[in-house]
């Protein structure tokens, strides 16, 4: 009998232990409780000694996606500086690669555990977060510093007139080109019109040069071509109406598809472009950097990606940039900009210090350092001179002259609609779909929201 009692006790112990082990999942709850306890003590101390005005300690959870230098160390420095000036603030940085970040953020948000400050691209994804109450309206809290940011850029982090974060990098998509290959083929840059571009593709091919590098394995680079065409053909009004009416019924979208199909028919891309990724050593950036193609339609980060995956064309002066060609008879101006950038959104439970810290990130000093990295385009007024690279300066000038700004379609629209645009356009590039299919697929995706 005695033997079994001991065994029973042992089993009970096991059960208790396993329950304790399971309870470890609630890590965050324990931490918060601990933090509350500390705050209470701090409050008590303040009442006892009114001379000390030390604020309550707070922790800011900051998620960003700058996995490599210079961005990685820049953000670390910025956090360290802020913590040194505000000793009661602790900034916990979590760095993740783009895709891993998106997955982790989605999981955390479903669990209601939103980071205090996190990478955001604005647009449809931000709207979803606003609708779900996961981000904070910081319009009032940001008032002291918000005027530092150029108003056009600020709209990226605004939904229905309210501010939910701040942008720190914004640029536009344009054509990056290899000056040597242009000279070899006798093509003059900039290419002024879409018709010229189609003709020049032939010129390059006659010279034995692959005209265009494309990362269709990632799908969004193909969407850039479609969106630029739609913007040039339809113009600002059509793009705005599409977002409001939630359809691609305007004939401009059909024409854009037809023009793109005409380009695809010329077979202007590098071999295997349907599976080529963007930023690997065998990716689309490297194809241009290695002189294996003449042109690349890409955003302001292209020189940085090329530098980390191949020879530095920008340094050797071989890299050039011009904005997307005009479309004859199109309603869009050649100054209408298509692009996007990076920002930080503020989580719903973030302490007020988060907004103050965001103000520090948006200071002229930090913005200047962002510009000096040579990989990003700062949005703070007075930091423009930090961009010394002539190509990036051209992109920045394009931004400042922009008559209209269209965010990347896969970020402007709800995620499912954006993915539908990318998928449908990919079918065009593979000769497996018609321009009408693109319109139908996007409309269907919007109807399914």
């Amino acid at each position: 009998m005695h033997k079994y009692t001991r065994a029973t006790w042992f089993v009970v112990l096991l059960v208790v232990l396993s329950l304790v082990a399971c309870a470890c999942g609630d890590d965050t709850v324990t931490t918060t409780a601990g933090a509350e306890a500390t705050t209470t003590t701090a409050a008590v101390t303040t009442t006892e000694a009114p001379t000390t005005t030390e604020p309550q300690p707070v922790t800011i959870e900051w998620w960003h996606i700058e996995v490599s230098d210079p961005g990685l160390s820049l953000w670390q420095d910025v956090a360290d500086e802020y913590m040194a000036a505000h000793p009661w603030v602790t900034i916990n940085i979590t760095v993740q690669e783009n895709e891993a970040f998106k997955t982790a953020l989605a999981t955390n948000m479903q669990a209601g555990d939103v980071p205090d400050l996190f990478q955001s691209w604005g647009g449809g994804a931000l709207r979803e977060q606003v609708d779900a109450g996961l981000v904070q309206d910081i319009t009032d809290l940001a008032a002291p510093w918000v005027d530092q940011i150029s108003p056009g850029a600020l709209t990226m982090m605004m939904i229905d007139g309210k501010l939910y974060g701040a942008p720190w990098d914004l640029g536009l998509v344009g054509i990056w080109y290899n000056k040597t290959l242009f000279a070899d083929a006798g093509v003059e840059a900039p290419i002024a019109t879409w018709e010229d571009l189609l003709a020049d593709v032939q010129t390059f091919q006659d010279a034995g040069i692959t005209p265009i590098s494309l990362a269709e394995g990632d799908k969004w680079p193909g969407m850039f071509w479609y969106a630029e065409l739609a913007l040039r053909i339809g113009g600002a009004d059509v793009m705005e109406a599409a977002a409001v009416n939630q359809n691609f019924d305007d004939p401009a979208f059909l024409t854009a598809g037809e023009e793109l199909a005409a380009l695809v028919a010329l077979d202007p891309f590098q071999a295997g472009f349907l599976a080529t990724p963007w930023d690997t050593p065998d990716g689309s950036a490297a194809v241009l950097a290695n002189g294996n193609a003449a042109m690349l339609l890409m955003g302001q980060w292209a020189p940085g990606t090329m530098r980390s995956n191949g020879p530095d064309l920008a340094a050797s002066g071989e890299l050039g940039w011009f904005s997307f060609p005009a479309y004859e008879g199109g309603a869009g101006a050649s100054t209408d900009a298509f692009g996007g950038g990076n920002g930080f959104a503020v989580g719903n439970d973030a302490p007020p210090e988060t907004v103050d810290f965001l103000g520090y990130i948006s200071s002229v000093d930090v913005a200047t350092r962002i510009g000096e990295t040579g990989a990003r385009l700062p949005v703070v007024i007075g930091s423009e001179d930090s961009v010394t690279d002539p190509d990036l300066a051209a992109v920045l000038a394009g931004m400042s002259q922009a008559t209209y700004f269209q965010l990347y379609l896969d970020q402007a629209y709800p995620p499912a609609v954006g993915a539908a645009v990318n998928d449908a356009v990919a079918l065009l590039f593979a000769n497996a779909g018609t321009p009408q299919d693109v319109v139908d697929a996007v409309n269907a995706a919007w109807a399914g929201e």
Binding site: A106, E128, G217, A275
Partner: protein, 313 residues
């Protein structure tokens, strides 16, 4: 000898069933708890979410019944993903397993360097799926290792578009999967072969059976349990295929290498249609369950019969 020793050992008195229960339950509780929290509960949750239109962020209010399921089966992309899963399944059974069996039989002979070859063939299985996919992406890329070899042999510049051609990509994928898993199935069959007593083969040889007859009438029937396990694992693996595909092709180009699992991931994490993605996961689960149960019922019955009946007694 053994029998006598057992008999002389003092008899252990087993406590009555009622006294045994708390202890049995106590020992089972931790495992059952984990099983419930990490297996059963997620399945129940997935079924729950699958009947909602839900982006994962807002409250669960938009009940749509079985719409997500009809939408999935009405979507040509999902149907093609399902088709791809079954192509991989069919090819695995038709090519990969016979190949593994062939190698197992070869390596069961007394060959020089047998241990080394076994190790080499098994090595790919040890690699993680992501590493496998990253390595093969480099080999398959235009002007990569395969193209270089073919160009070298044929002395003209060859580019195969192994991953970029929608018509080829699925077979490239199957090749990588075979490369990774044939060693595993070979090991299972090798273990099975070693269970077969040599006496039977010797007896067959004495009776004048040819090596093919011996293989067909002795090796194959006695190896059947191992083969059935291999087939089972291969089928379930094909239906749930994800990692290699996701890293190697991302389901592309133009969905030509999508599987149900990559389709589900795409809708869940890229498009934020969590409810719909859950419906797809329920379909995958249902299919796996169906295949598993049917297979257990019709094919594995003989193998599990002994253990199950013994447990019941």
């Amino acid at each position: 000898m053994t029998t006598i020793r057992t008999l002389t050992r003092p008899e252990v008195r087993t406590p009555s069933t009622t006294k045994k229960w708390p202890i049995v339950m106590g020992f089972l509780a931790p495992a059952l708890l984990l099983y419930f929290v990490f297996v059963l509960w997620p399945i129940i949750q997935a079924m729950h979410y699958s009947v909602y239109h839900w982006n994962g962020l807002e409250p669960l209010t938009d009940f749509v019944g079985f719409n997500n399921f009809t939408k999935a089966f009405g979507d040509p992309v999902f149907r093609s993903a399902l088709y791809h899963n079954f192509i991989i399944l069919g090819l695995s059974l038709a090519l990969q397993l016979p190949f593994a069996l062939f190698l197992a039989v070869m390596l069961d002979q007394n060959l020089k360097g047998r241990a080394l070859m076994r190790m080499l063939f098994f090595a790919p299985y040890v690699l993680s799926e992501v590493v496998t996919a990253v390595v093969w992406r480099q080999i398959f890329r235009p002007s990569g290792a395969i193209d270089a070899v073919i160009s070298g042999v044929s002395s003209h510049d060859f580019q195969g578009l192994w991953l970029a051609n929608p018509k080829i990509v699925l077979y490239s994928l199957f090749f990588v999967i075979t490369w990774k898993y044939f060693g595993f199935h070979m090991m299972i069959m090798l273990a099975g072969l070693q269970q077969i007593p040599d006496e039977l083969q010797e007896a067959a040889a004495i009776d004048g059976a040819s090596s093919w007859q011996a293989f067909r009438c002795i090796t194959l029937p006695l190896l059947a349990p191992a083969i059935r396990v291999s087939v089972f694992l291969s089928m379930i693996g094909s239906i749930q295929l994800f990692d290699v595909v996701w890293v190697l092709t991302g389901g592309g180009p133009i969905n030509a290498s999508n599987t149900m699992a990559t389709y589900m991931y795409d809708w869940g994490f890229e498009r934020h249609h969590i409810g719909y993605a859950n419906a797809v996961s329920v379909i995958v689960f249902g299919l796996s369950l169906l295949v598993a149960l049917a297979y257990q019922r019709w094919a594995l019955r003989r193998d599990v019969e002994g253990s199950l009946t013994a447990m019941g007694a």
